[in-house]
Symmetry: C3
Subunit: 146 residues, 3 copies
């Protein structure tokens, strides 16, 4: 059982490390631009770092849900590769947003597209298990066999 | 194994789609009211959309945890139905909050109540598995048999 | 299967209850300091409560991911104990932050340290299952036997 989700678990831990890295950047930005909690507004340079981390935090649970559903119901390895692409896109988003608001856009589209693919694979996987359950046919494996 | 969580996985993917819809509404509201990132304040119309998405994002991980614990430990089908009710409540919350701050209240109480029921079922399910583990008695199934 | 994650599920439900408690404190603080949604700024007393809940919400998905990966791949009981320590640290963080911005620091370090330990155990667990999968050796159990 655990073997079937080990890659997805590894990507999840990597995702946690990425979020930890983003949080630390906010801590450093708070020091650099003297924005003491509970304040969250300050110079645009600070606010971009702050929002980059916040936006990534917002998407993190969505990413994790799709990673595990797609990994368990569709295919572990494909999903893990897509997961790595997403984390790479988020890193670029963070770096881009830190430099300018415009810099966030290209990586945002990239990482959002990866999420749409994961939504597609998750839906396919869930649909396949449902069909297998009620009709006894494993569509996905039959497709691969063709 | 996967068959025992397939409904819960389907509701999770639906929840992700709902969050994606809320995020897109914020993107549109940013354009409509000219609130460029990293700014998050603007006219009240914008701020209500922004907060409606933010508040739903905050509750999303809580919802997912309860959905899976209740689905795996208590009952998949009951849980999936409650999950759909929650997502419906959140949709109403988003629409209501978009119109007025007051409009968020009734759907908020509704969706929070669904969460409390899920907390109850999750606790019951976890308790039942613990009892089964240590005393060898399956209380839930015995109750249903009575 | 469920028996192997029952403690981790119990700690997750406790974590949800803690988040619900934090949210309720924000609702009370909104009333006490007359900060009506969608506003999120007000007197520092309010903003500290608001940020304490927000910060805890941000870390909640990270905590849940580590709890389940460490619980499933490393050891359930050790993980559950660390999970309880984390929730205790977060409670102290919330209380400390409510009183003063400075008061959040010591509990923050404590809870962050618990997360680092969980990151270590998760990585170890994932590494161990990978090695078992490809080399057929269960390093963790051999270590315990020595
Ligand atoms: N969102 C956090 C990310 C980094 C973090 O966790 N910072 C710690 C140490 S400065 C904290 O307690 N932040 C206070 C807060 O989030 O209000 C922030 O804005 O600071
Ligand atoms: N919370 C987001 C929700 C929508 C979203 O993800 N927007 C993208 C494209 S405008 C973004 O990069 N937002 C910047 C931000 O969240 O600071 C927002 O406020 O914009
Ligand atoms: N982050 C929430 C935590 C508590 C909560 O969920 N409050 C409800 C009832 S006051 C709400 O609808 N809040 C509006 C909002 O989050 O913008 C807040 O700031 O209020």
């Amino acid at each position: 059982m655990l073997e079937q989700v080990v890659c997805v678990a590894a990507v999840s831990v990597l995702g946690v490390l990425e979020q930890a890295y983003f949080s630390l950047q906010v801590v450093y930005a708070r020091r650099k631009y003297s924005v003491s909690p509970p304040a969250t507004s300050g110079p645009p340079e600070f606010e971009r770092v702050f929002r980059a981390q916040m936006n990534s935090s917002e998407y993190f649970p969505i990413f994790i849900v799709l990673l595990w559903v797609s990994g368990a119901f569709f295919s572990q390895v494909t999903t893990a590769v897509l997961g790595l692409l997403y984390l790479y896109g988020r890193y670029k988003y963070f770096k881009g947003y830190t430099e300018s608001a415009y810099g966030r856009l290209a990586p945002l589209y990239f990482s959002t597209n990866v999420l749409w693919v994961l939504i597609g694979l998750s839906s396919l996987g869930v649909f396949n298990v449902t069909v297998k359950l009620y009709l006894g046919v494993d569509l996905l494996h039959q497709l691969i066999d063709i």
